[in-house]
């Protein structure tokens, strides 16, 4: 919420007084976490780069309210330096528990050490860090991205079972260096390498956004005339790519088979409409599990180092059935 407050304050300042000063930042969220029995949880989110992320944010905010946890929410807008700043400010405010989804995997040792020195337990959500020292965080709750990549690969292997023709695959990767991008790529590659007919002819980053997904796919379509399969690391890039494929006069889902990961509502709608062939779910609704963990960690209970979120996969028929009560 604090970001919105800042935005609102600045917007107000713009309209009324001009650039009088910057002293009022974060005025709304003061107070320390130690007083009272209420747990204060500092959470630093990656950003709002996709529908998935938005659902994730909502789940965390709602379940914090239900669990009676005082949530200090901060949006890093996809930048690691913002996130490090947020973590430092959580440490300075002496929150009870820190949770965050790392923007990238590397470069966290220093700030995590600071949290440890301040005796504030850290929980990673959704994305991992590559720190050697696992004592720097209490637990990691989230999906297994390697497994997601594998599920995508397994569907592909089954779909082309018994055929011998070469299958030309193009891949739209997530943000370079991000765990879901690295792992979804690795898991997928691991499964399809068993059969030489599967060939990844091009792989580029689409930054997890629609615009980049569309732009990269446009270039792919011109460079490689015979693409059989598109594997996109999230729904949004896949949705952007669908527009590029349609503009090229091809039928997404038929001429080019599309596999994506996430299963957000827009993606599921496209899947039910036959424009995507298969979606591996990556559930963002980990809020309740996170609040549970935060309470246990605060109480000093032992928690597992790794907690998996429950997830499934969707074919076109399953999407049609699941779509009406899809929350995000």
């Amino acid at each position: 919420m604090s970001r919105k407050w800042t935005a609102a304050l600045l917007a107000g300042a713009l309209a009324l007084t001009g650039p009088a000063g910057c002293g009022g930042e974060d005025a709304g969220s003061g107070g320390s976490g130690s007083g009272g029995g209420k747990i204060t949880l500092g959470f630093s989110q990656v950003g709002a780069e996709s529908g998935w992320r938005t659902a994730n944010t909502k789940s965390i905010q709602e379940s914090a309210a239900t669990a009676g946890i005082d949530l200090k929410f901060s949006d890093a807008q996809g930048k690691q330096e913002n996130q490090i700043k947020a973590l430092r400010s959580f440490i300075a405010q002496r929150v009870d528990v820190i949770a965050f989804s790392p923007v990238v995997e590397s470069g966290w040792d220093t700030v995590l050490k600071e949290a440890k020195d301040a005796d504030i337990p850290v929980i990673l959500t959704d994305r991992a860090v590559d720190s050697q020292d696992t004592s720097l965080y209490k637990s990691f709750i989230g999906s297994d991205f390697v497994l997601e990549g594998k599920k995508a690969g397994e569907w592909l292997v089954k779909e082309y079972e018994g055929k011998t023709d070469t299958v030309n695959i193009v891949e739209l990767q997530g943000t370079p260096g991000a765990a879901p991008a690295n792992d979804r790529k690795a898991g997928f590659a691991d499964v399809i390498k068993a059969d030489p007919k599967f060939k990844v002819i091009a792989s580029q980053t689409g930054q997890f956004t629609r615009t980049d997904g569309k732009e990269v796919m446009e270039a792919f379509l011109k460079t490689y005339p015979d693409i059989d399969v598109l594997y996109a690391h999230n729904d949004d890039m896949g949705l952007g790519a669908i527009e590029a494929i349609e503009a090229a006069g091809k039928k997404p889902g038929t001429d080019i088979k599309i596999i994506t990961v996430d299963a957000v509502k827009d993606g599921m709608t496209a899947l039910a409409g036959g424009k995507i062939n298969y979606i591996v779910e990556c559930s963002p609704l980990l809020g309740p599990q996170l609040m549970d963990l935060a309470k246990k960690v605060k109480a000093g209970e032992q928690v597992p180092q790794r907690v998996l979120t429950e997830e499934t996969t969707f074919t076109q028929e399953q999407a049609k059935a699941a779509l009406p009560d899809r929350k995000y």
Binding site: G18, A48, E49, Q173, P176, A202, Q204, Q207, E215, T223
Partner: protein, 336 residues
């Protein structure tokens, strides 16, 4: 021949041609343009289409830089314009209504004009350094856009709105036509009237031009309004292209690309003389660079390095001092 190589746009043009040609080795049909579903289709069209937001932003940036200023807020203005338009269209009872979409477009551009006045007033009336004055809106503007969209990606399904960024008119992309119209209008206004000279005078020396009877203040505010309006149209094209408003990604860091485009085009950051054609060329070059990295399959991790190398080579080739050193070496080597 020397007159040609001395032209300040010669080297950027050479790099652009080299970039485009290098694609052919990886995509043999790179230069082919075909008719697809009644519109032109090909890589060159992609380069033009994907360059449109940057060309517009660079155009506005050129005029602001010519007055001796700089506008860092263009990316945020893009995000605000896209967010406001998508929000208004999303609320329409019938998203297909042309009137409703037009109203949203006018509102977005109008709001941007107000933001431009804000920037201009901060710079001229209050006298804040342009880089600081526009930094305020750069940071706050992104916040306003997020406030508008509630931090979410807003989807719209409005055929008239889609026309702006993804539609075609007479086989040509609408976005390219819009940008071409803005470029021609700006060129006519600045080069066929005294406006361009006046802007350059203000940039070269605000005091001297004021003493000469030029209303420097009004001209400078106009430059910021022009930059903001250009950015708003760019934001509309950007969000229309994917039929959604993403207030985090829209125009993120585009101010830096735009400044680069302006510099490549030969406009000095100190103000004064400016070249609209140069900025357009610079912007197209930057977007061609993007497409090239996709086509020749530069790994995602090294894309930024590749771009940096091209930009460094380009800047060196534009430097007269650097060329002098290289050419002298050559003549020495030949005579020895």
């Amino acid at each position: 021949m020397t007159a040609l190589t001395r032209h300040r746009l010669f080297w950027p043009a050479v790099v652009l041609v080299l970039l485009l040609v290098s694609n052919v080795f990886f995509a043999p049909r790179f230069f082919s343009i075909t008719l697809q579903d009644g519109h032109l289709y090909g890589s060159l069209i992609d380069v033009l289409r994907s360059s449109t937001p940057l060309v517009l932003v660079a155009l506005g940036m050129t005029v602001v830089i010519a007055t001796g200023g700089i506008d860092l807020s263009v990316g945020s203005v893009m995000a605000i314009a896209g967010a406001l338009a998508c929000l208004m269209i999303g609320d329409l009872p019938d998203q297909g209504s042309v009137g409703g979409v037009l109203l949203a477009v006018v509102a977005a551009v109008g709001l941007a004009a107000v933001l431009g006045i804000w920037n201009g007033v901060l710079v001229t009336v209050i006298g804040i350094q342009p880089i600081i004055a526009t930094l305020i809106l750069m940071v706050a503007g992104r916040g306003i856009a997020q406030l508008l969209t509630d931090g979410q990606i807003i989807n719209v399904s409005s055929p008239p709105f889609r026309m702006i960024g993804a539609g075609y008119f007479l086989t040509l992309p609408v976005s390219v036509l819009i940008v071409a119209a803005v470029v021609v209008a700006a060129a006519l206004l600045t080069r066929r009237s005294a406006l361009g000279v006046l802007v350059e005078a203000v940039g070269a020396s605000p005091t001297a031009s004021r003493l000469a009877g030029i209303r420097a203040r009004g001209l400078t505010i106009m430059a910021y309004v022009f930059a903001a309006v250009c950015a708003a149209v760019a934001g509309l094209i950007f969000s229309s292209n994917v039929a959604s408003a993403d207030s985090n990604a829209a125009g993120n860091l585009i101010e830096l690309d735009a400044i680069l485009a302006v510099v490549i085009g030969g406009t000095a950051l100190t103000g004064g003389r400016f070249s609209l054609a140069g900025s357009v060329l610079g912007a197209v070059l930057i977007s061609a660079l993007d497409i090239t990295t996709y086509t020749i399959g530069i790994p995602a991790e090294t894309t930024l390095l590749f771009k940096a190398v091209v930009v460094v080579v380009l800047c060196l080739s534009q430097s007269a001092a650097f060329r002098a050193v290289v050419f002298r070496r050559r003549t020495v080597g030949a005579s020895a």
